[in-house]
């Protein structure tokens, strides 16, 4: 204990020498609020939190940590949903929110370069006046950092048409576990010089390097959009509608689904006029040239009606459409109104299998006597079954574990993935090997060992390594 304490004292002294006053936090009252992220029922105490202001400080911190053999967990705003940024025992929390500068918007090359503590929404806000658009819009975009988005390869409501964060990353600056700073990628649309190393770091959940800058692709801002709200008397009818829209080769930017419970909670909070009686609601949005959104909107409405939609309604105006999408983004948090603990999953299946997974989730809820609400990005096949429970009830939490296990098995059976956009972190670590063959699971670990042989960065996330490496 004394040894550990004295080791910490010298570590803290060295850290305080490289960052400004106030950028190294060590008091309990400062640390407790960094013990968790947006994931339910998971926390761990941080030893210290350091909030550097530039890449040189980050590199210096990594070198100090490496010399002391103390691991680092990198985080942004801590809105992650898989426990990826939860502190590790005795480790340093490296929080990048103070590195929040947009460095360059290049309208000639349609790119933006920024530090990774920049808020996701600020990127699109900066692009807007130039007629440009940064499409990835995770639910937490008003506060999530772009670094967290890149490290988790975050999705959002527009993934169907515009893809996910990865599709916009053209380059990045990374601090390696050794403390070296390297640049990967370029502004070139085509670039095949060497391995696509930047892609290795996208979605690496802070386990391979610390991403300090990103170069992102921007696209022209769509001229018009059309938002529709269709309500159904069964979840299956809603899921079928979505599957058929895709089958008819219509790719709108958003096809969101909310069940009755989710609609009730969201409406309770946001009061935007969601139908609370229907069994399921699908929010559809088409964007692009005026004539295209008109045609797509009509086609989607016709498909919904053919599938027995009770009602199909057009958003009154742009402001109403924005309010609907904004309300949808609060779904996960709004569901917390029902029970104390809200466990959110993000299984994803090939879109033709949507009906099966949705029915199965209902069945699992009945089987394990659990309250499960479902919403999600149906257009991507990305479903958010959300278990409403109470972490202080041990018996119920056991049933939650069984339910999750069943849902993951079914997802894999349907050719799906246990996580579409939240990442593995801690929450899905125990289930990852079910999805991977032995060879591919080992490949993951080999990459980690090659880049971070001492297990300095976010150890124990995604998978466990043998103790000799992990400690």
């Amino acid at each position: 204990m004394t040894l550990l304490k004295s080791r910490n004292v010298s570590l803290l002294e060295r850290l305080s020498a490289v960052v400004a006053d106030g950028d190294l936090l060590t008091e309990s009252e400062d640390l407790i609020p960094y013990g968790f992220d947006g994931t339910a029922a998971m926390k761990n105490a941080a030893t210290c939190v350091v909030t550097p202001r530039n890449v040189d400080e980050v590199a210096a911190i990594v070198k100090i940590a490496d010399a002391a053999g103390v691991p680092i967990v990198t985080r942004g705003s801590g809105t992650g949903l898989s426990g990826g940024s939860i502190p590790v025992d005795g480790g340093i929390v490296l929080c990048l929110v103070n590195m929040d500068q947009i460095i360059e918007l290049d309208p000639a090359n349609l790119t933006i370069l920024c530090e990774t503590g920049v808020i996701t929404k600020a990127i699109d806000d900066a692009a807007h006046p130039h007629g440009l658009f940064y499409p990835p819009d995770p639910g937490s975009m008003k506060i999530s950092t772009i670094g967290g988005n890149v490290a988790n390869n975050s999705g959002g409501l527009r993934g169907l048409k515009y893809g996910v964060t990865r599709d916009y990353v053209m380059g990045m600056e990374v601090v390696l576990p050794s403390g070296e700073i390297c640049w990967l990628g370029s502004k070139c649309v085509k670039d095949v010089a060497g391995y696509s190393m930047k892609d290795l770091f996208v979605g690496s959940e802070g386990t391979l390097g610390i991403i300090t800058k990103v170069l992102l692709k921007l696209v022209p801002r769509p001229k018009a959009r059309r938002t529709l709200l269709a309500s159904f008397d069964s979840m299956e009818a809603a899921a079928r509608t979505v599957s058929q829209i895709i089958e008819k080769q219509i790719i709108p930017c958003t096809l969101e689904f909310l069940d009755r419970k989710t609609c009730g909670c969201v409406e309770d909070y946001a009061q935007v006029g969601l139908p609370t009686e229907a069994a399921a609601v699908v929010l559809m949005e088409s964007d692009g040239p005026e004539s295209v959104v008109e045609d797509e909107g009509n086609a989607m409405a016709a498909i919904a009606e053919a599938n027995g939609a009770i009602n199909v309604e057009k958003a009154k105006d742009d402001a109403h459409a924005t309010r609907l999408a904004t309300a949808r983004r609060t779904a996960f948090s709004a569901l917390a109104r029902i029970r104390p603990t809200t466990i959110l999953e993000d299984v994803t299946v090939p879109r033709s299998r949507l009906v099966e997974i949705v029915s199965y989730v209902e069945e699992v809820g009945r089987k394990h006597r659990l309250e499960i609400a479902t919403f999600g990005h149906f257009g991507d096949g990305n479903v958010h079954p959300t278990i409403l429970t109470d972490e202080t009830d041990k018996e119920e939490m056991e049933r939650v574990e069984h339910a999750l296990s069943d849902i993951f098995d079914k997802t894999i059976e349907l050719g799906g993935t246990i996580t579409g956009e939240h990442g593995v972190g801690l929450a899905k670590k125990p289930f990852l090997d079910r999805q991977f063959s032995e060879a591919s699971y080992q490949l993951l670990k080999q990459v980690k060992i090659a880049l971070d042989p001492k297990g300095m960065l976010n150890p124990g996330k995604i998978f466990d390594l043998p103790a000799s490496i992990d400690s």
């Binding site: 309990s28 960094y34 339910a40 809105t79 917390a336 603990t341």
Partner: protein, 438 residues
């Protein structure tokens, strides 16, 4: 932390229904709404960070420390987080209990702070007669030339620093208070409703004309107005500053002054009071004598703008030849976040002839007044005041409407002569008066 030491028993946070503490699922949606988090970008200065600290205390993992106390008083209590929170966390209850816990444990104790708390919370704002006596003295001080003499003589250099800095921004106390301007009972020609009128404390001394305007507007809309004499502070000041016991006493005192069964509504025109007044049932839930009366009370308390829209107030007729004056609206935190009242004051403004409404950027951001925050945390309050003033100046409005005395003073102090701050109800009362003159 919790393993070896015995913790001092908790009085407030420990007694809270655990579901209130557990309600926060730390999603982070509150962070971009919180003025102190945006200032420091440190989690402890955010709503979810503060709730995590409260929860740690309730769980016995953290003691009530000085650091915790300071954090609870760094929070503005602006409640912007409650508007942002999809999960419906009851932050006001957490915040008031946390501050009460801080006071109970005395972690911020120092003799000077103790003296000021005693003088203000236990004396002036607990005793209606004393509040008026102090008001009278302040008025004398301001009109007699003594205040001029004091400023010129430099005698203030002998006073404690914060008193010295505050003296120039002391609100101007009016010669006649509400009881002299409004009779105990006033009736319209045809009575549609019977309402009680709350005169407040600061409002009563500094803005009694707003109370008079409120009564006028109510009368104009068929409301018989009962204004009990010698009302004191409603206890919001106490509840927001960790004195829940005194707040409960103030609530009982107020409940005794109104005959609820004969009234359709209890009207308040001060946002900070209103957001407290609507929750007496929570404050008195363990008081068998008052609990049910408090519930009835909660249901009847209405902000004046809320009530006017509810009864479909009469829109004033257009006065002939009136020019157009630009007005903008600052949303008092405890009106928009505390009571969810946003559209109603704007509806009043829209009904007024000769006014052009210009929307204010970040209208719902706190101006830094936040009760007595501008006294306890002048630095942070000053920053927010500057931001507010910058946004106000961009509108080019010569009138700033707002519905809370604290904001009124804070903004007027920040703006100086460049624009006039006014309560929306005063503008409506003026419009009714102008009808009669034209």
């Amino acid at each position: 932390m919790s393993d070896s030491r015995t913790l001092t028993p908790l009085k407030y946070l420990g007694d809270l229904d655990y579901s209130v503490v557990q309600q926060c699922m730390h999603c982070g949606m509150c962070l971009p709404a919180c003025p102190t988090y945006l200032e420091t970008k440190k989690e402890r200065n955010s709503p979810r960070g503060r709730i995590a600290l409260m929860r740690s205390i309730a769980d016995g993992n953290l003691e009530v420390t000085k650091e915790f106390g300071e954090e609870m008083y760094y929070c503005l209590g602006c409640l912007a987080c409650t508007t942002a929170c999809p999960a419906g966390v009851n932050y006001p209850e957490l915040f008031e209990n946390a501050r009460a816990e801080v006071e109970y444990h005395g972690v911020l104790f120092n003799p000077e702070r103790r003296f000021w708390r005693w003088l203000t919370l236990d004396q002036i704002f607990s005793k209606p007669w004393m509040l008026r006596a102090v008001g009278r003295l302040l008025w004398l001080y301001q009109v007699s030339g003594v205040s001029w003499l004091v400023r010129k003589s430099g005698i203030l250099l002998l006073a404690p620093r914060n008193l010295r800095e505050l003296e120039p921004s002391t609100p101007v106390v009016q010669r006649r208070f509400s009881d002299e301007l409004i009779r105990e009972s006033e009736g319209p020609s045809v009575t549609r409703y019977r309402v009680g009128l709350l005169t407040g404390c600061v409002q009563d001394l500094v803005f009694p004309d707003v109370n008079r305007a409120t009564a006028d507007v109510l009368l104009e809309n068929g409301c018989e107005v009962t204004t009990p004499r010698s009302q004191g502070c409603c206890g919001s000041l106490h509840a927001h500053n960790g004195d829940l016991d005194q707040a409960a006493t103030r609530a009982r005192d107020l409940l005794d002054r109104f005959d609820l069964s004969s009234l359709d509504a209890i009207i308040t025109n001060a946002a900070g009071c209103g957001s407290h007044l609507k929750h007496f049932s929570n404050l008195l839930k363990n008081d068998p004598e008052y609990a049910s009366k408090a519930t009835e009370w909660d249901g009847k308390v209405k902000d004046i703008s809320e009530w006017l829209v509810e009864i479909n107030f009469r829109k004033p007729e257009k006065a002939s030849g009136s020019g157009s004056v630009k007005v903008t609206y600052h949303e008092a935190c405890h009106l928009c976040h505390g009571q969810g009242i946003s559209s109603q004051p704007r509806e009043i403004l829209k009904s007024l002839p000769g006014l052009e409404i210009v929307e204010l950027e970040n209208a719902t951001h706190c101006c830094g007044s936040a009760g007595i925050y501008n006294i306890t945390q002048p630095e942070q309050a000053g920053k927010l005041q500057q931001e507010k003033v910058a946004c106000l100046k961009k509108t080019g409005a010569s009138l700033v409407a707002t519905a809370n005395p604290g904001c009124h003073l804070q903004i007027q102090n920040g703006l100086g002569e460049s624009a006039e701050v006014v309560h929306p109800v005063s503008l409506l009362a003026d419009a009714y008066r102008n009808e009669k003159h034209s």
